[in-house]
C-alpha cells in the first residue's frame, strides 16, 4: 500500500520524538483506553507500553523480555504485554529501541482490563513516579448516571493531577481541539472500516492491525488525522477500482480479539491462500466511538466508559452479529488469547450465541498475542483447515454476484 511508507515514517517519528528534550513537559506511560485528549490538552507526552508490547511481539523480541520478567518472579501466566514491558524495564539494554523512555507519570484506565492497574502499580513502584488510576466500572447492563458521575469526578481529579504535574492549567481550547482531532480521526477510521463492506474487501485484517497504531498512540494529533485521510483515500480508490485485498475472495470472515503479533502475516496468508479474507474485526473497531457533543468531561466519561471491552458479553455478541450482517460475513475466527482474560474468557459462550443467531460457524484458536511459546503452528493449521472445509461444505462460499443467495 502507498500509505505504508507514511505509516512507517509516522511511527518512527513517534518513537524518535518521545526521546527528544521535552522542555519540562512530562512524559506519561498511558494505557490504550485512557482519555488521551486530556493529556494532549495538558501538553503531556503520551507513550503506550501496550503498543510497545505489540511491536516487540511482531519483531519476535517479546519472549526474551518475558523471560527477564519471569526470572524476577512474574508468573508466565500473566499478560504478555505486561511481562514484555516489565522485561524491558528490567533489562532495557536487551529491549528494542532500548525500551521506552522513563516515565514522569503513569496513567492507567481499567476500561480495558484490571491487569493494567496491577501492572502500573508495579511500574509506579519501580520508577517511583506518581500513578493515576481512572476507575471506570464495568457495564454489565447499562451505563448509569452514578457511573457517569463517578467517572466525571475522577476526570476532574485527573485534570487537577495533570495541572499539578505540568505546573500549568489544562487549556479548555486545547482540549476542545484534541477532542475535535480525535473525533475526526475516529470518523476516518470508521469510514475505512465501512469501505471493507465492499465486495471484494479492499483490506484484510492484518492491514487494519498494522494501520491501527496511530489511532492508539497518536489520537488527537493532526498528523494522525492526516494519515487516516490519506489511508481512507487510498482504500476508497481500491474500492472504486474493485481491487481486493486477496486474490480470490471466497470467504468473508470476522476476527475477534487482539492480533497474534508474532505470527501475523503467516497466519493470515494461510487463510488467504484458501480464499479467506478477514473483512472486519472487533479489536480495531474498538476505536470507533466519537466523543459526543455537550459537557466535555461528561462526554469523555461516556465515550471511555463505553468502550468494547468494558461491555458485557451479550453486548459484544450483539456487536459481532451486527458486523456479520453488515459486512456479509460467512464465518468467524476467535483468538483465544491467553494474555487477555476480559477478551477471551467469554468466547466459548459468545461463539455459541453468535453462531446460533447468524448460522455462521466460528473457530476458536488458542494462542497468545505476544508470547510465541504458547503458540503451536501445526495444530492451529489443522484446525484452520478443518474450519475452511466446514465453510465450504456448508455452502458459505462467495460465488461472484450470488452472495445474496447464501444463508
Amino acid at each position: 500500500m502507498r500509505s505504508a511508507k507514511e505509516l512507517q515514517r509516522l511511527m518512527q517519528w513517534h518513537y524518535a520524538s518521545i526521546r527528544l528534550p521535552r522542555l519540562g513537559r512530562p512524559l506519561a506511560w498511558v494505557t490504550s483506553g485512557a482519555p488521551v485528549e486530556l493529556l494532549r490538552a495538558a501538553g503531556v507526552v503520551a507513550v503506550y507500553p501496550e503498543n510497545y508490547g505489540a511491536l516487540c511481539g511482531a519483531q519476535h523480541q517479546a519472549v526474551a523480555l518475558c523471560q527477564k520478567a519471569e526470572s524476577e518472579g512474574y508468573s508466565p501466566d500473566l499478560c504478555s504485554y505486561a511481562r514484555t514491558s516489565l522485561g524491558s524495564v528490567i533489562a532495557p539494554e536487551s529491549a528494542p529501541l532500548g525500551g521506552l523512555p522513563r516515565p514522569d507519570l503513569l496513567i492507567a484506565c481499567n476500561n480495558i482490563c484490571s491487569t493494567v492497574v496491577k501492572w502500573y502499580e508495579t511500574l509506579s513502584d519501580r520508577f517511583q513516579v506518581p500513578l493515576f488510576v481512572l476507575d471506570l466500572p464495568f457495564i454489565h447492563d447499562r451505563l448509569t448516571p452514578a457511573m457517569t458521575a463517578y467517572a466525571v469526578t475522577q476526570l476532574r481529579d485527573l485534570v487537577t493531577f495533570l495541572e499539578r504535574e505540568c505546573r500549568r492549567k489544562v487549556s479548555g481550547a486545547k482540549l476542545g481541539e484534541a477532542v475535535r482531532q480525535a473525533n475526526e480521526t475516529v470518523r476516518l477510521w470508521t469510514e475505512i472500516h465501512e469501505l471493507c463492506q465492499a465486495h471484494p474487501s479492499p483490506l484484510n485484517v492484518p492491514d487494519l492491525f498494522v494501520n491501527m497504531a496511530p489511532i492508539v498512540v497518536l489520537r488527537g494529533t493532526a498528523s494522525a488525522t492526516r494519515f487516516y485521510r490519506h489511508l481512507r483515500d487510498e482504500v476508497a480508490e481500491r474500492v472504486r477500482e474493485g481491487v481486493g485485498a486477496i486474490a480470490e475472495e471466497r470467504y468473508r470472515l470476522l476476527w475477534d480479539n487482539i492480533a497474534i503479533w508474532h505470527h501475523l502475516y503467516r497466519l493470515f496468508n494461510y487463510f488467504a491462500e484458501q480464499g479467506a479474507c478477514f473483512v472486519v474485526d472487533t479489536y480495531t473497531t474498538a476505536w470507533s466511538a466519537e466523543i459526543p457533543r455537550g459537557d466535555l468531561l461528561e462526554s469523555l466519561a461516556e465515550a471511555y466508559a463505553g468502550v468494547y471491552l468494558n461491555r458485557s458479553l451479550e453486548f459484544r455478541a450483539r456487536r459481532m452479529i451486527d458486523m456479520i450482517q453488515a459486512y456479509d460475513v460467512s464465518g468467524f475466527v476467535m483468538h483465544g488469547n491467553r494474555s487477555c482474560k476480559p477478551y477471551s474468557l467469554g468466547q466459548v459462550e459468545t461463539r455459541r450465541l453468535v453462531t446460533e443467531m447468524t448460522g455462521a460457524p466460528g473457530l476458536l484458536i488458542e494462542a497468545d498475542m505476544c508470547d510465541s511459546r504458547a503458540f503451536a503452528p501445526e495444530p492451529i493449521r489443522t484446525r484452520i483447515q478443518a474450519f475452511i472445509e466446514t465453510l465450504e461444505s456448508s455452502g458459505r462460499e462467495m460465488r461472484g454476484e450470488a452472495q445474496g443467495e447464501r444463508r
Binding site: Y74, L78, V133, D135, T153, S344, L345, G346, R352
Partner: protein
Amino acid sequence: MAKVGMQDSLRWLDDPYADWPERFPGRKAIGYFCSYVPLEILHAAGLTPVRILQLGSTAAAAHAHFPAFSCAMARTALERLVSSQLGFLNAVVFAHTCDTMQCLADAWRMVDSSQRVLHFSLPTTLDAAGSVEYVLNAHHQLLGELELLSGVRVSEEALLASIALYEERRRLLAELYRARESLGAGELWRITVAGLLMPVEEHLTLLGRAISSLSDAPARFGTGPRLAVAGTALHDGSLLELIEELGGQVVADNLCTGERAFQGQVDLQHHSDALAALTARALERPICPAKHKVGQEAAARILELVRSSRADGVVFVQPKYCDPCAFDYVPQRKALEEAGIPHVVVETETGACGAQARTRLQALLEMLS
C-alpha cells in the same frame, strides 16, 4: 472432645451445596463469591447468603463453557451451575472483583438463562475522588434489587438489626482467632467457612459453643516456626493442617475465607445511616489483591502482616491463573527478602497440597528450625 464433635458436625463442608435446603429448611438462599458483598443487606432482605467456594470440588472442568486459562474457582462454580447443584439458590450476587469474575458474571446467565444475577458494582479503586458516593450508590442499588427479588421493603430498622448480628459474628470470630493456638488452624478454617455457608443465627450458636470449649483447651498448636498465610480465598483447610503436621504454627492470615473476612467494623456512631456505615466499612477494611488503594500496596500489606503477627516466615497460597496474586507476589517477595523473612509459594488449583507443595512447606520449616 468438643473438637471431635465440631469436626463431625461440620462434615457437610465436604459437599455443602448438595443438601443445603434440607440442612437449613425454610431459608431463601442467595449465592455470592466475594467477601466484599454486604451480607447484612442480603440478610435484611430475608435472604441467607451462601458463599460459592470450591470445597473439595475437583471438577475444575466446565471446559464446555470457560477456557482452561481461568482460575479453578470460576470453573468449578460454572460446573456446579451446569450440573444443577446450585438450583436451590434464588439468585447470585456478583461483586466486581477481577477480570475472571467479571466474565463469569456475564457467562452465568448465558449458560443458564433462568439464573437471577444481581450486580454489586464495587469499584476497583477504593480511595478515588468520588469513591464514597459511588460505593454508597452501589449499596443502594443492591438494596433496591434485593427488595424487588424478595418482594419485601427493607427498613432502616431491619438493616440495623442485621448489622448488629454480623457485628456480633465479627466480634466472636476475632475472639476465636485470638485462640488459634488452642483451636488449630484447620479447625478455625472449618468454623469460619461453615459460617459463610449457613444462616448467621446458627453460626453465632456454633461460635458460642466453640468459644466455651476453649476454656480448658491447651495451646497445643502454639509451637514451632510462626507462619503467616497470605492470599485470597482458601478452599481447602488441609493446607493449614499440613503446616501444623509438619511442625509449624499458623499465626496469622490475610485470606478472605479467614481473618480478612471479618476485619473492619460497621461504625454506626460516625455515619448517618446503615448504608453509609456499610460503605465506610467496605472502603476502610484491609483490601483484597484485586483492589487499588494508596498505602495498601502489596509490599506494605505483607510487611504489616508479618510485623503484627511476629511471623518467622510466609506461605503464599496462589491459585493458578490468579493475576492479582501473581502480580503482588513480586514486590512482596522482594520486601520479605530485604527483611530477611523466608517464604514459599504454594501454587494450587483446589486449595489442597500436592506432593511438591508438601516438600516446599517442609523445606521452609526446616530452614526456620
